[in-house]
Amino acid sequence: MTRGLWDRETVALMLIAAYLPLAAMWLRYGGVAAALDFVAILLVLAGWQLVFLLVRAQAPSLSAIASALAIAMLMPEELGPLRVILGVSFGTVMGELVFGGWGRNVVHPATIALAFLGFGFPGFDWPDILLPAAWAAIPAGLIGVVAGIMPWPVIAGAVLIGAGGVALGFDLNAVLPAAALVLVLLVADPVTSAATTLGRWLNGLLYGFLVILFATGWNGAAPVQIAVSAALLATLAAPVLDEAAIALWRANRRRRHGKP
């Protein structure tokens, strides 16, 4: 039964289902303004998907809803429509659509859009993460892991190193809500996180490590900025981590069986 059921859009739908607790909490506190942001970003994403559908015959994907939610929740405040359209266009075209659409991208379009908006317009403040929305990251992650669409070792690795950091006495209270939200929205993405089990553990550990490093050593950075930067670097490192995991597996195999 599962064999015919799971295709790319099923994964996208399950991802959206996992984000529903987040979206509910965020809309509950953000109100109409937040909903309008989300709809505007979704329209931009849909427009680009339509362009690539017509020009390159790339099938559109419902994953745009998940990307739009991530961008709307995490983008810097009061940017104005022009800058948001520019950043979102850049993120979705260069981060996802040029690679052939969702499922073939190596970086999360929302991560790219957020990095573009954050580093391109440094004068704007990053948003404060509402605590209820941050708590909703826990059910979101649980749904994602139980449904099998979020890689559990990534989340486990990040939580493990976060707990270790708190136990060692690092002051992480300020960044934890943003880091949890970004972990669920950007890092534990089924497409752009690592694909091997060991690679996933390393991916999660790397993300957690970078968050702690930035939180303790980066003066004047906002929590969301720290988390998004860590997510960007962890995503970029994911293929290398996979490569390392596969090389290790091959070396083990050669040692056991004596064959290449």
Partner: protein
């Protein structure tokens, strides 16, 4: 007449169709490094074009006397001498731009574009044609540098050649500088977009795909 048309096509081919930067991806390290403003891009373009044209002429003149085993050393010596001359001229007359370009003028010596053209073309062709080819390649390089430098300066600072073009918000205008444009990643993705645009207009430049996606057969997933 036939001779003239080959000269003309040797000169114009490298501008877009055989552009050294966007088709052969040569010389991009300097192309990315010096394009934060139009003035530095222009100076770098002029320096490289001058060095390339003169070096191609000199090497072509002595091409039959250079022993094959040491030809690269001879070429680099000639190019390096010309680069030193250009560098001294820049320091003497354009001190400020020379400081902005820092090491990149000196690095023209090792620019793969210069060595590539002298090695591939000037060592096999007479001086006149070599210099025309070198000039064409220099102009092709300059074209890319000026486009990227212009876009980066215009959107990064709202200026062109140091003149305010787009009115800034803090001076009562409407334009907020996109400071990302002045950071190194912007050069990479602008060059990528430029290559994409050129290859859309001229699809014969696109490389053949390295592998084709597997097609699902009938009756399988």
């Amino acid at each position: 007449m036939a001779q003239r048309s080959t000269f003309w096509s040797t000169l114009t081919e490298p501008l877009v169709r055989q552009n050294p930067v966007t088709l052969q991806i040569l010389g991009i390290c300097s192309a990315l490094a010096v394009t934060t403003s139009l003035a530095t891009a222009l100076t770098m373009s002029a320096s490289l074009t001058a060095v390339l044209t003169l070096a191609a002429g000199l090497i072509s003149v002595i091409r039959n006397h250079i022993p094959g085993t040491i030809r690269l050393i001879v070429q680099i010596v000639i190019i390096a001498s010309l680069v030193i001359v250009i560098d001294q001229i820049l320091q003497a007359y354009f001190a400020e731009i020379s400081r902005a370009l820092s090491v990149y003028v000196g690095l023209i010596t090792t620019n793969c574009l210069v060595l590539g053209r002298t090695e591939a073309y000037a060592t096999h062709n007479p001086p006149g044609r070599s210099m025309v080819d070198a000039l064409g390649n220099g102009l092709g390089y300059s074209l890319v540098l000026l486009v990227i430098g212009g876009v980066r300066e215009l959107f990064g600072k709202g200026e062109l050649m140091g003149q305010q073009v787009l009115p800034l918000v803090e001076q009562g205008g409407w334009f907020t500088p996109l400071s990302l444009m002045l950071l190194p990643p912007a050069a990479f993705f602008l060059l990528g977009l430029l290559v994409w645009a050129i290859r859309t207009v001229q699809p014969e430049q696109a490389e053949a795909p390295e592998h084709s996606p597997p097609l699902a057969r009938e009756g399988e997933e």
